[in-house]
């Protein structure tokens, strides 16, 4: 349909029009395109911003020095080995280690995908939450899909997911934790939703991380409180108590509220 010699559309609008034409079943309401560009030049530009020392110190903060290379790595536009080599070029082994360790998570998930393809959509282990799979809703509630949960920071994360197709790791954890534990929705529903929006959407990294949050692939469920969100969020995220009440409380309170029969340590 498109020959190598054909002119590549130089403006994004024609490129988007081509994609639309190729996707006749795509809903007419789906009009959002991310500002994150595809292609090697864009990947290289991101790689240039890599700062392993800063990464080690700030990576858990939503405004920390993370690379946003995941969409390129996921689609093989840039290899994780190339990124690792650059990190080791820029910093000592000790300084680069945290970054390389994070890169290795991807390798780890891919290995599991290869070895156990069934783990992608099935619970690897039982839930440790005190609930069984039957206690979780099958479908994603509409208010979540629309980003209208009424929990301010969660709605902001959803908006970011829907408009940019990218979320910081910590925001993914907060959102997945909210869906699995505050709303008691099956991790599969959340994972499928992430995969349709994340530019880096990857069956292994995504679904196995969801299972880690849900506790079907870890010793305990991942949960957090509003203080934690406040600690790791920059000024752009609304963490006011009155607009985020369901997330507020001590870990002990939340544990009692979310997992009254939980048997994890």
């Amino acid at each position: 349909m498109r020959d190598a010699t054909q002119q590549i559309p130089t403006d994004r609008a024609s490129l988007i029009a081509e994609v639309r034409q190729l996707s006749p079943n795509l809903s007419a309401d789906d009009t959002t395109v991310s500002s994150i560009r595809g292609g090697r030049a864009a990947a290289k530009a991101r790689l240039k911003t890599l700062d392993p020392a800063e990464y080690g110190k700030t990576r858990n903060h939503l405004d920390g020095a993370v690379t946003q290379l995941s969409p390129y790595i996921r689609h093989g536009v840039m290899g994780a080995d190339e990124v690792r080599d650059q990190a080791l070029e820029l910093a000592s082994c000790k300084t680069a280690e945290k970054f390389v360790q994070q890169l290795t998570w991807r390798d780890y998930w891919q290995r599991l995908y290869r070895e156990y393809p069934d783990h992608i959509w099935n619970d690897v282990e039982d839930y440790k939450t005190g609930f069984g799979p039957e206690d979780y809703a099958d479908d994603l509630p509409e208010d979540i899909a629309a980003g209208e949960t009424g929990v301010a920071c969660i709605d902001q994360f959803i908006d970011q997911l829907l408009t940019t197709g990218y979320l910081h790791n910590h925001a993914r954890l907060y959102l997945a934790g909210y869906i699995c534990h505050w709303r008691r929705v099956k991790w599969q529903a959340g994972a499928a939703w992430f995969l349709s929006h994340l530019l880096d959407g990857d069956p292994a990294s995504n679904n196995l991380s969801w299972q880690w949050v849900a506790s079907t692939f870890s010793h305990k469920p991942y949960y957090y409180n509003l203080d934690n969100v406040e600690k790791f969020s920059g000024p752009d995220i609304d963490t006011a108590f009155k607009r985020n009440k369901p997330l507020a409380g001590t870990y002990e309170d939340l544990r009692k509220r979310l997992f009254p029969n939980g048997d994890f340590q």
Binding site: M1, R2, D3, A4, I8, P9, L15, I16, E18, V19, R20, L22, S23, L26, D30, T31, T32, V33, S34, I36, R37, G38, G39, R40, A41, P71, H75, G76, V77, G79, D81, E82, R84, D85, L88, E89, C93, A96, E97, V100, Q101, L103, T104, W105, D107, Y108, Q110, R111, L112, R114, P117, G165, L195, S196, H197, L198, L199, G201, P203, A204
Partner: protein, 145 residues
């Protein structure tokens, strides 16, 4: 002459599948709308993938990869990058009934023994760390030494 099938898990020409196919191989990216619909990919995901594919400057064909390749490829060998995706593995298995398909794996980030424990990440990391922290050029040097 060979055909190189580029799929969505390796949208690159910097891959051993491309090198091994040799000069003059025909390179095609296959755009699979049915796959995108099935996975409910949003417009932004599709645009990102298309933009990456266009950037390669290769021929793009639309359709199910099995049908496209069956129709396009005669006696030639098909080269493609290895992927854990069960759909791709199935397509490759089906193509092999009628064609020679070479599935090539890129070196990747770490190399660890096959019996490595993958039950939890940190056990894996302890075994993988040395290899993960070794730059590619050093691995190449030790392999050719």
């Amino acid at each position: 002459m060979s055909v190189i099938w580029i799929h969505e898990d390796a949208i690159t020409l910097d891959h051993p599948a491309v090198t091994m196919a040799g000069e003059g191989a025909e390179i095609i990216f296959i755009w699979d709308t049915e796959r995108h619909d099935e996975k409910a990919y949003s417009l932004k995901r599709r645009v990102f993938i298309y933009e990456c594919a266009l950037d390669l400057g290769v021929k793009i064909m639309a359709g199910h990869p099995y049908n496209v390749l069956r129709e396009l490829v005669g006696e030639q060998t098909i080269y493609t990058a290895w992927s854990p995706d069960p759909d791709y593995r199935e397509i490759i298995a089906d193509l092999r009934d009628t064609h020679e398909v070479k599935v090539i794996e890129a070196p990747g980030l770490v190399s660890v023994p096959d019996d490595v424990d993958t039950k939890r990440f940190f056990r894996f990391w302890n075994r993988a760390k040395k290899s993960a922290m070794t730059p590619s050029h050093q691995v190449l040097e030790s392999e050719t030494a």
